[in-house]
Structure formats: structure tokens, C-alpha cells
Amino acid sequence: MSSPAPSSAFPVSPAPRGGLVRELALIAAGLVLLSFVIRIHWMADFAVFFILVLSFDLLYGYMGHLSFGHMLYFGAGAYGAALWLVYGNASALIALGVGMAVAAAMAALWGGIVLRTHGASFALINMAFNEIGHFLVQSPLAAYTLGEDGLSCSADPLFGVISLHEDRWAFVFTGSMLLAVYALLRVLTRSPFGILVRSIRENESRVQFLGYDTFRFKWVTFVIASTIAALAGALFTLVQGFVSPRVISPFGNVDVIFAVLIGGAGHLGGALIGAAVFLAIKNFLPVMIPELSRWLDVKLPQWELWLGIVLLVIVFSLRGGIVGTLRARWRKSRAVEAGA
């Protein structure tokens, strides 16, 4: 039976059909265009970073929980997949599933603890867990992880033909996973669950007085965000064929936080744009600056300074990040037009 349509006087219309397909097509087109501009060897790494940033945006941008320990789940996914490939079998898909399952189980357990804290305590207790994970793979578990030396691993080709060690196939597979993650998060964030998560960000106590057990929904969000981060980590392992403690280092959180802040927290498109801008700064400036220095015959500062300048500009003039600021300006101009 079809649902009744809201009154014609109600100024909110049902979601237009095809929006998700258009956005996925746009992202796919962007990735393909990017693959012509930069070396395709980098594209799988970029797609992995995009997935990681999207997962962090769900946790921080949408739910307002800033974590300094998100790399724990990226690392759990990466090491889970690598250990399966080395000590289990060489199936890429099973390794992917094992990496995600390990991280999901960890998030389900730790989530019950860390989500009882808020604000700075939440950020720091997550970092503490991240540090513990970093230490575990370096030393107590070194017999399996080979500690600082890292662990080499190799997966059989997917379906017997698709080798993830080939740049083109690695790009296609990780790009497809990125599209799947984007689709899942878009559906989730535009559902009543998405509104609930945004409401928790603003006033968790008030949400309880609407009849919702906020702790349960925060836990679900934390587990989803962590599992997606683990997917990114497992993909990293499959593509690189190597993991080291660097993948679980808490320092990696800084890159993810910068990317979300640059693009605009709480907007999936903003997370992708922020990740792209961050990668451009991080990967191209170190190459461009020496070239530019030679061309101008002036010694220019290192790329980290330019990243700092970009962040200062965003903090002071684009407080909602690139997408957040553009949306705010668009809304303002619409309001002015409506008032005129």
C-alpha cells in the first residue's frame, strides 16, 4: 500500500529519486579524472584514505565525538587482514572480513567503556587505547607481527583473476569499496538514525527526553565508524602487501582530523573534498616546492608550513570547512532572495 503524501502546503518534499546514483557517478568520475592527473599507483592509497576520512566524519562530524584513537581500528583492520594472510590462508575477501570483524569486536568492547566519557576525556581515552594497540603490535605481539620490521603478506587474486598488486585493479577495487562506503553512509546519515546522531551531537540529554537510549545509538555509531576504518586498513594491507606499526600509530589521527576540518565536518562530500585537498597538500607540495624554489631562485619553506597556513585560513575564515562555509553562504543568499 502506498504511503500518504504530506499536505501540499507542507514545504518539505520527499527525497528526490536518483540522488544517490548521481552522487556516486560524480565521485566515480572524479576518481577517474584524478587517475589521469596523478600516477595510478597512488589512487588505491587515496581511495583508502577517503574511506578512513568518511568513517571519522561519521564519528566526529555527525555525532560530535572527537577521537584521537581512530587509527586503532584502521590498524586493527590492517593487522587482522595481514595476520590472516600470513597464518590463515591467502583469500583476500576472507582477510578483509577478518580485519573488519577484529576491529568491530574491539570497538564493541571498548565502545562500552569510552562512550561513558565525553569531550576531551573521550578523545584522550581513545588515544590511550590507540597507544596500547601500537605498543602491542610493536613488542608483546612481535612474535607474530614482527614488530618494527613489519609483516609482508600476499593475497591470491580475487576470483582467481583480479590481482590487487596491479595498480589498475587495486584502484578499481578500492574505488568500488569507497563508493559502497559512501552509499552506506549517505543512506545512514539521511535516515532518522542520521538525525538522531546529529541531535546527540547538539544535546544528548534532550534526545533522551524524546525517548531514545542515546548510549545504545552512540555505541552503534562507534562500531560502524570503527568497522569502516578497519575496512580501509584491511584494504591498505591487501594493496600494499605490507603492514608495520606505522599503520596503527596515533599520529595518523592528525591527518584524518585535518582532512575533515578542511572539507567541513558533518558532510560526506566535505569529508571527501577535505581528504582530497589534504592529500594534494601532503603529496604535491613536497614535490612542487623544490621545483618552485629552483624556478624562483628562492628557498621556500617546507610543505608542513603551507599545511599550517591552510589550516589557519580555514580556522579563521572558513569555520565550517570548505563545504560547510559554501553551504552557509548559499543558505544566506537564498534567505536574502526570499526576503527581497
Binding site: S3, P4, A5, P6, S7, A9, F10, P11, V12, S13, P14, A15, V187, L188, R190, S191, P192, F193, G194, I195, L196, R198, S199, R201, E202, N203, S205, R206, V207, Q208, F209, L210, G211, Y212, D213, T214, R331, A335
Partner: protein, 254 residues
């Protein structure tokens, strides 16, 4: 009429301060009750205790005869206790209709299905229909697509009442619904309360006593954490204890 909610010896202490002291309070089903008293008399603390904002230090709360003293707020909402706040509490980062979504889905069958709650668009026609109903009731249909931050304070108050009503409560607790409103906005809210009191059991905390006298069947007066007087508005307002707590002791006649 049977009692919908009762408290016995309800007490709340904050370190050295006793905000609510041994209060025996009851609300009959279908009745509209006003709770009045000077600033700091414990009215809002009583609401916080009834709604589960914090637990009492001592005493018991029963709803429909069942003890609810230890229940968290969301469980009390499920039983039918909903409230508004002294300072308007709506979600400013959301639009008006998005504020209504969570309330209407809380009591809708489609909201109870986890898959739909997680995976169906909140702009599904069935959801929008419910939001439209909730907002129409408080006269906010035209503003539905606006961010809440752009609403006037009076409209925010109407929205808060609207989303609370959308929970279809058995007991509605309104904490100073007229505070901070202009005369025009007060008239709107008083008219709305006049309409809804026929459908819900309502308890109102209010300082503007004259505005709610026609709405309430019973008044309860609190002073220094104690419930000092209960009865019809006429009885209560002529009670010397009430006059004393508002205007002090009358000078003895010469």
C-alpha cells in the same frame, strides 16, 4: 479520577542544600495542575525528578501505580511522561521538520522497525506526513523547512511543545512555558495549552499565575522545597500560607 503519578516523601539534596524535601505530590488523570511558588522553591527540581533528569536522594515516584524512581528518562517517555524545559530546548542545528522526525517516529510503528529507522530516508512521505501533522498543531507548517536557529523564541517554544505533544504522552510536564515570551506569543501558547489540556494530563510550572488560572483545575504551591498547599485555584490563592510565601507576613491589624 485515579492518580496518574504520585510521589511519596520525595527528597533531593545537593550537598548542603535540600531543593525538594519530603514532597507527597499527586496528579489525577485528565486533570490540569499548576505548580507555583517563589524562585528557588524547588518546582523545576520536582519536574527533574518526575522526568528522570536526576535521581532523588530519597522517596519514591509511582506512575500508574508502578514504581519508576530508578528508570532513566527514555524509559519514562516510553511509559508516557514527556516534558518541556524552562529554557527552550530544541535542536538549533536541525531544521524545524527534522526536530519533529525523532518525536513522531518514537511512537510510530515504522519508527520501531530498526531497518527502517536506519535505512529509510527521513524524507519518506509517511514520515513527512507525521511531521506535517505535528507542526500543523502548533502553527509551524510554513516554517517547516527553516533551520531552527532562524525561528523567534516564541516559535521555538511552540516547536518544543509540538515535538513533546508528538510523543503522545499520558502526562505532559510544561516547565514555565510562558517565560520570555511577548504578550502575543503568550496568547498563542495559552490558547494551545487550553486546547491540549482536554486530551492530556498536564502539569504546568508557571510564574505568571494570572495567565494559567483559567487553565488549571488544581494548584500546588511549593516553598523552600516543601509542598505547602494544594487545592482549587480559589482555595490556594486565599490560603494565608501562600500569601505569606509571596508577600511576607501581613502586619497585625491595629
Amino acid at each position: 479520577m485515579a492518580d496518574l503519578i504520585t510521589t511519596s516523601a520525595l527528597t533531593k539534596r545537593f550537598h548542603g542544600l535540600t531543593a525538594v524535601q519530603a514532597v507527597d505530590f499527586h496528579v489525577r488523570e485528565g486533570e490540569t495542575t499548576g505548580v507555583i511558588g517563589p524562585n528557588g522553591s524547588g518546582k523545576t527540581t520536582l519536574f527533574h525528578l518526575l522526568s528522570g533528569f536526576f535521581p532523588p536522594t530519597a522517596g519514591e515516584i509511582r506512575f500508574c501505580g508502578e514504581p519508576i524512581t530508578a528508570l532513566p528518562p527514555h524509559r519514562r517517555v516510553a511509559l508516557g511522561i514527556a516534558r518541556t524545559f524552562q529554557l527552550v530546548s530544541v535542536f538549533s542545528s536541525l531544521t524545524v521538520w527534522e526536530n519533529a522526525v525523532l518525536a513522531v517516529l518514537r511512537i510510530q510503528p515504522e519508527g520501531a522497525a530498526p531497518a527502517r529507522f536506519f535505512l529509510r530516508s527521513c524524507r519518506h512521505p509517511a514520515v513527512l506526513e507525521r511531521c506535517a501533522e505535528a507542526l500543523e498543531r502548533v502553527g509551524l507548517t510554513a516554517q517547516a523547512s527553516l533551520p531552527v536557529a532562524e525561528l523567534s523564541y516564541g516559535d521555538k517554544r511552540m516547536l518544543e511543545i509540538g515535538i513533546t505533544l508528538a510523543l503522545r504522552p499520558r502526562l505532559l510536564l510544561l516547565d514555565e512555558p510562558l517565560a520570555g515570551l511577548s504578550d502575543h506569543e503568550i496568547a498563542r501558547v495559552v490558547k494551545l495549552i487550553g486546547e491540549i489540556r482536554r486530551q492530556f494530563t498536564v502539569v504546568i510550572i508557571e510564574h505568571k499565575i494570572s495567565k494559567i488560572l483559567e487553565l488549571v483545575e488544581r494548584l500546588s504551591v511549593m516553598n523552600e522545597g516543601r509542598l505547602i498547599c494544594e487545592g482549587s485555584p480559589a482555595e490556594v490563592l486565599s490560603d494565608p500560607r501562600v500569601r505569606e510565601c509571596y508577600w511576607g507576613k501581613e502586619a497585625p491589624a491595629c
